[in-house]
Symmetry: none
Subunit: 187 residues, 4 copies
Amino acid sequence: MRTRDLDKQQRIKKAIVTVILKEGINGASVAKIAQEASVSPATIYIYYSNKEEMLAEVFKEYSHESYYYLMEQMQPEMSGKELIETIVRGFYSYTVEHEEAFSFVEQCSRCPSLAETVCETECCCDVFDLIHKYQEMGIVKRYSDPNLSAVLFSPVRFLAMNSRSMHFNAEDQLAELVQMMQDLLLN
Amino acid sequence: MRTRDLDKQQRIKKAIVTVILKEGINGASVAKIAQEASVSPATIYIYYSNKEEMLAEVFKEYSHESYYYLMEQMQPEMSGKELIETIVRGFYSYTVEHEEAFSFVEQCSRCPSLAETVCETECCCDVFDLIHKYQEMGIVKRYSDPNLSAVLFSPVRFLAMNSRSMHFNAEDQLAELVQMMQDLLLN
Amino acid sequence: MRTRDLDKQQRIKKAIVTVILKEGINGASVAKIAQEASVSPATIYIYYSNKEEMLAEVFKEYSHESYYYLMEQMQPEMSGKELIETIVRGFYSYTVEHEEAFSFVEQCSRCPSLAETVCETECCCDVFDLIHKYQEMGIVKRYSDPNLSAVLFSPVRFLAMNSRSMHFNAEDQLAELVQMMQDLLLN
Amino acid sequence: MRTRDLDKQQRIKKAIVTVILKEGINGASVAKIAQEASVSPATIYIYYSNKEEMLAEVFKEYSHESYYYLMEQMQPEMSGKELIETIVRGFYSYTVEHEEAFSFVEQCSRCPSLAETVCETECCCDVFDLIHKYQEMGIVKRYSDPNLSAVLFSPVRFLAMNSRSMHFNAEDQLAELVQMMQDLLLN
DNA sequence: TATGAATGAGCTTTCATTCAT
DNA sequence: TATGAATGAAAGCTCATTCAT
């Protein structure tokens, strides 16, 4: 019996992200993904039962990735200021270093049918566990989770998506945004 | 007759938005839009030279709409607090009252090919003219435009998009967010 | 506006029957039918909303045809013997003269999903009206309709389908069968 | 081990019939049959060189089955009446008790490519040997074999296939049909 | 022998767009 | 201007079959 080719599955996953970055979620046909992965379209249906499920599954995986990345940046015993800076800068770094994955997740999360399959809150729960600790220590203000999520991540996403079309220097913006978030969220 | 034509074009525009809310930007075929507008597919090609251009044009129009709506909420002689509250609540109201248009614009703005055709900054220039005045009067802090845009609008969009999947009371969140923005942005 | 091409619709109907005779109901793909009709596959979907419905509709049409043909053979004032002979020979003639249509209907009527869409009894109601008259006149024995249907038509169908594989002279068989049916059904 | 293999082949044979009853001959893919038989698709190609041959072979086997069944019903020293009744009722019983096999054979025998591979006459030769004896004894009329086959089996098949769609009581019909056949075929 | 992985070819269907009126 | 008909191209997906183990 031929064993399942792990490399092949990896190539498919990679291809999905690549094609969606290039062509948008609209233009990402199974055929194109298969070609990008150097695989027959039929092969994709061995790994995923249909296109919808394929996107959902890969979307789910990558949704968590940015927060894993973020957690790796964290140091023990950070001050409040360091915490906020790490979150803002770390999240932005992720968008730059994993441009494909970031763009893929952004597109999926705006696609109503896909967005439903992944719950934002679950993805970043580790980050929130940490923030809650800082809240309990009286370092971070006790704003609600949805609003914390809204102000910590959305603006960074906005900058990441618009850094090209709007003509600004990302580093300057980021420095200012860090400052803003520290002012806003710390006691 | 002129009225007839205008009416037809208007119906097409409405249909685009309606269909995209119902079916997502993926499922929005020219045929479905034509049917929704009670028009022949061929007729659409009288008004727009192809689908891409059609979406781009309508996207451009609706991109401005939320900011027009916002400007209508503005009162002369508002305090800084009132300004911020009006922007945050007004923008949220728009997402509720014009759900179709909001969803349409959101979806288009995540579609790479379409997003390029519309510049966010141009759309909200009137709002920024106003904010600049308040900055010059020393009421609003002198943060850069991209960051102002990022923190004023993205979080509201985030709440609007996630109010259903996350289970929170929109009004409570909004009240808190207004408070946060006032603290953050006002001297 | 381009008007619907009646000839085209006719060609499609003809093509369905031809392809099914050649390839069997299994091998009859929409693409092959389209090619046989010198039409694009997409065109077929203007006339029928899907393959199933297409087959069902054409099947329904042709199901009636053999009985229309039969009724045309009938003469007024026939004797009982003539009635039976006309039915048996007429039905057989139909299978020879309209081989394609006959084979098509046979195949469809064995396909469970299609068979359900057409009710045999409705198709041959004119013939049964006639038979009922002869029953009332005491000429044809008062057997039940299902059994009359079973013995009058099934054996002829059997002969028609097997005249090639079994090696017999159709005319001889038919003459004998007429005799049998007359003996069986007439007072 | 031999038992294992035979068991496997048997399971495949059973699966073919089951799947075809459920899905029709169109919907009976090798994959589905393999799954139903709890076997890999590749395994099927160890026993049969391709799908066509597989169906043909199993079709051939089951084609005989109803006549074997029929022969088992036969008693020595039956009267002519009993002979006819046993054939008609026995054949009907078979269609009820072996619904899957009957439906399978019916479907195959309408599929042109398959029908060619099996000769009806060969299948029921035992039955005809018996009938011929009764003909020689002057009990059964000397009609030709094709016509005997046509009137003895086709009407029963017709009733079996239509007992649901036409709304009649099978037992009543059968009783009448027995009577008819006795009148028709016996001296 | 037996298998799950793999695939090219083909399926049904829909698409954006153009044609003929 | 406006249309329903028409279509080539492509979509998502399944097929019978073969491969590699």
